[in-house]
């Protein structure tokens, strides 16, 4: 009995940082996805978004989530974006952001190519009140599992303390330590217009279950819509397992 109590106390101590309730949840207004997430995307947590560099899916999805996350009172809150100055995928382009309804004046870019310094800057930004969200684009750290897990943990703690939502983008990375892990791929929506839309796979979630589907987004009303794929095999890489770091292989 004594041993069990000690064990429970230890468990509680370990789980202490996890027990803090999320500052709120942002509902996607897509039934299946919200159920899978347990009500919506947790605010004040760190989320991992993976996807190829050679398309705009990750940036587009992040922008859509930010548009919904920071709607209303926070609609002018600045977004701090840390990353290497000029990646393979080019730089964020203000006129394009503006066309999707996101004011580029809210962006503060931290162009730091050293991943550890960049992650430290992201932590600073998370601790700053008034910042709406922080994006850290240092997927190259994922090749060093020890550093990656440490960085993920630090970001998660900073996000919880500051109450600010953090997003980490990578090509492929281990989602351990993050609140959720998403994989994004471009998708055919079989619609006549050029409405943004992606194949979204929620692959990892703490206390939820995975989900995948096609989401399209209306930029000006900040609404997601789920689209049923015309034929199942057209869905790009559904439910593909996240490639874990080298340590797991």
């Amino acid at each position: 009995m004594d041993r069990k109590a000690a064990f429970n106390a230890l468990k509680k101590q370990i789980l202490l940082p996890f027990d803090q309730p999320a500052a709120g949840r942002m509902a996607f207004a897509v039934d299946g996805l919200d159920q899978a997430l347990g009500g919506g995307l947790a605010r004040g947590r760190a989320h991992l978004v993976t996807g190829s560099l050679l398309d705009g899916a990750v940036a587009g999805f992040l922008l859509a989530v930010l548009g919904r996350l920071l709607a209303g009172a926070n609609s002018q809150a600045p977004v701090v974006c840390c990353g290497a100055p000029r990646g393979l995928a080019g730089q964020l382009y203000g006129p394009g952001l503006a066309q999707l309804g996101f004011d580029p004046a809210r962006l503060v870019l931290v162009c730091e190519s050293h991943p550890l310094r960049g992650m430290a800057a992201a932590e600073e930004a998370l601790a700053c009140r008034g910042v709406g969200a922080v994006i850290a684009d240092y997927g190259m750290l994922a090749s060093r599992p020890d550093m990656w897990q440490k960085a993920a943990r630090r970001l998660q703690l900073a996000a919880e303390q500051g109450g600010t939502t953090a997003f980490v983008t990578a090509v492929s990375a281990s989602p351990a330590g993050f609140e959720t892990g998403w994989h994004l791929a471009p998708a055919h929506l079989a619609e006549p217009g050029w409405q943004p839309g992606w194949s979204v796979a929620l692959q990892h979630i703490r206390g939820g279950r995975p989900w995948s589907g096609l989401l399209s987004w209306q930029p000006h009303s900040h609404r997601f819509t789920e689209i049923k794929p015309a034929s199942p095999q057209k869905l790009a890489r559904p439910g593909r397992k996240l490639r874990a770091g080298r340590h797991a292989a």
Binding site: L54, D55, G90, G96, L100, A121, H188, P219
Partner: protein
Amino acid sequence: MDSTSEDSQALITGRRADRQMVCVHLPELAVQQAGRAAGWPDKGPAALWQLQQNRQILACVSSAAGAAGLSVGMRLADARALLPEAVFAPFDPAALAGLLDRLARWAWRYSPLAGCDPAASLFWIEAGGASHLQGGPEALLADLDSRLAAAGLTAHIAMAPSYGAAFALACHAARPGQPLCLCGAESGSVFGRRRALLAALSPLPVAALRLDADIGAGLAQAGLHTIGSLFGQKRASLTVRFGPQLVWRRDQLLGERDERLQPLPVEQPALVSRSWAEPISGPEALARMVTDLIADMADLMARRQLQCRLLEIGWQRVDGQRGSQHFALSRPTRAASLLARLTADLACHIDAGFGIEYGWARAGRLSFGLPENLQLDRRPAAASLLDDLVDHLSARLGSAKVRRLQPVRQWQPDKAQQSLPAASLDQPPHWILPGPDSLSAPRPLRLLSPPEPLEATALLPDHAPRLLRWRGQNWVVQRASGPERIGPPWWQTGQPACRSTDYYRLETENGARLWVGRHGLPERGEQADWFLHGFFA
């Protein structure tokens, strides 16, 4: 905060008989300045133009050009036809304002109250109580005129008891080399002086009253061409017909109504220093030096009601070598806590050698600021917290690494935005967001700069491509929209080749959306170079 600083330093001219306002109107200053910079022939005809509602209008003409018939407000094409041998150049208002500011600072030799009005190409001096140092008002004006003439500037100078009268006389009555003075001792009694003032002002045109354009046109319609014709009119009837501004200006002309002028602020350096009997070294002592200097500086700025946007910490070693470090702030502040946070890492980077015997802190880019109220009821504003974050990150990573996006009015896609260091921006950038029904051409979310060349195969030379090959990947295009044709800036000289670009929005087989351009038009027989310029969401 700017309004409070203006309020605290503004000069209010009112019903004071001892005011001696000097206005120096320099109608050719801009053209003389441009001519000296570019080495145009002296006394030759020259004119500067500027864009007004997309028309090129002359903004400043030299006296030779004026004698040949050119005038301010004329269209550039007409002026070129009238006087082909004249030199024409674009007008630079910022350079003119800078020069007038320097001239007004030079005028501190006559009086500590001086300011400028770049729109009228004029600077003013309030010489009341200071002119006797030059030997009286007339001697002051003669001295001013001879010094400006020696510098080669055409100056129209007038002195009057009110700013409005001095302005009107300088701009419309005074001639170069003949300063007008209406403040002399010989004019006698108050009534005599007023009579002299009325007599001098009456023949001047109503344009000397600094009126809005529509009031000037209305006065011309009513047949009121000179200021003298206004003096006989009733106040009420003028107000009913032309609005309150005309009566204000008439009263300001005679010094019967207050006028608010903004003199140049007098800057005093903010510097604190500490020296030690024994040279100091070691991290703790150096950190103490930095915190002490910052505390002294914060005290000094609080006493003088100043705020700074630049902080320099310097030190001198025993062997005489000096070093310093600069910290830039994105908003004016004097908070010791913020300055201490910025300089937290400094002590580790100081090379003390055999010890430091002298240290100083200097604040730059000062501005006036009232003491802050203690905010007991609400949290500090989010904008100021963001500024603190930007400063902190800039101090840690280097100011070039923290950037914001600024729009640029350019058609060329890669020039339409500019990424600027956030600490250098005085105001947040302003973007115009297109609405949901906007017809603006599509722009990608991520832009490749420079664009990446790719191989493309189109069914016909001027069609959208069907196959793309880039970095070893093959893409089959499923649908395309476009083209959007963007021409090169052909009006700029020195462009090597003028080839237009057609942009297409493509969707590949796997759903990725690309922005692909073709440099060169096949229908003109130009070589077509395909490139990938960005990715859509």
